[in-house]
Amino acid sequence: MKLFIQRATVLGSLVLSLTACAGQQTTPESGGELNNAEAPSLAVGAIPDQDPEKIQRLSDKLTAYLESELEVSVEYRPVTDYAAAVTAFKVGDLDLVWFGGLTGVQARLQVEGAEAIAQRDIDEQFTSVFIANVNSGLQPFTDISGLKALKNKTLTFGSESSTSGRLMPQYFMQKTGLTLDDVKGKVGFSGNHDATIKLVEAGTFEVGALNSQVWDSRLEEGAVDQSKVSVVWRTSPYYDYHWVVSPAVEERYGAGFTQKLQTALTGLDASVPAEKELLELFGAAKFIPTENQNYAQIEEIGRQIGKIK
């Protein structure tokens, strides 16, 4: 018996010393039910397809703008993984997140009372493009039935939970009766839209599907070798990216805060230089109000495809 007590003492003292040296620093900032100090910061997450420097500028500007408009402290939390962002929103550590169509729906389904409040002007009429390597022999087509030609071609999507780079393209393929087993080999997941372009350009995959906004801007930058890759089809429009807010903000900052947030976001004015830069960083001319109902189609497709359980 003494032996067990002794062993417990060794273990206990080790664990204690480890936790003791650690326990001294506790985070005062984090939100939710974890602490009941004076109102914690509004935690914001936003991961547009931008490089680190721009994200840095964006986070500073966004924080400053929201703080001045809402008169609460705002904290930007960097999360690049969409599954991680959804999880953080679910557990209540992110209050306001810039989600894609599918991830927004996934997040709202896990948090009762969460609301879609704003989206970019372009998100109302968002499209995807199917691009093909010249060696694939695919010709541009205008009717959705043209997608049948993808049979026995190799195909890559972007990331698994991307709406424009996976969900909607797969949905349109299914509409023509084409399943993922009909393509040659296994469908690829390049991870992001730019990698999709490069991999189709390289010929690793014959066809790729991606966000048309990224495609257009890369064309404009001249970053695409058009002798190797071109658009074969542009999809019909659907709703995509949007801001989702957690119901916890109403509890924390008082009723009507969601409304205030919506007004702040849609109030971004391209004629004010600082706000114009923020809008540019999001690739938007302005933000417009939106509502949960707009994403019913996405939810239905998500369920069909198995991305929503």
């Binding site: 003494k2 032996l3 002794q6 003492t9 060794v10």
Partner: protein
Amino acid sequence: MDEPVFKLAHVSQQFGALTALSDLTLTIDLGERVALIGPSGAGKSTFLSLLNGTLMPSTGRVEVLGCDLSRLGPRKKRWVQRQVGTVYQQHHLVTNLTVVHNVNAGQLGRWSLAKAAWSLLWPQNIELAAQALAQVGMAEKLYARTDRLSGGEQQRVALARVLVQQPAAILADEPIASIDPARSHELMALLRDLTELAGKTLVVSLHDIEFAFQYCTRLLGLRQGALQFDLPPAQVTESMIDDLYHLAPNYPAPSL
């Protein structure tokens, strides 16, 4: 204490098909100096392992200070084991610790874990360790690194470790197997004096029977696990010794 220090009753030790000791019955009293002699493989080390509780007999009973080790709980068993100190041929010291820690290791049976841990940072009970080192003639090496000592010095540290343990009996397994004759005499005299002075029991296995005759009060002759004789040195004859070693054609001749 009237009780014998060690009491063996019909003790046998099997290792698989091999019989290391068979049907041993004897007692060893306080203050005796017993030499175990016999050819290699006779069971001398096994015998010592039974006395300090490393092994439990396959059959029979071993009592140390009146207690049957195989029937004791771990705490009581450790209490009895503290009364028996062992010096090993290979010393079994922790060479990257300083001498004081190796000597203090002999006190661990009496120390709590906290005290033992603290002592590694801030050596405790130094007087006792220093005293023991002085007894073995190494007083000045208290804070030396053990791996910087010679083999003979390390053996003395091992002996000092047993001394601070303050046991009733000291066991020594071939203590002079790897040192030169002059040092062997020095060490055996030291063992004799230390035990004689404190009235302790000494049980020592020796391959060199000359030392057994000179330093011990009782000789146990072991061959193939069986006790051949158990007599004071004066009564052991040359023919008994010849029988002990020479009759076994498989074993090498003793280094007489």
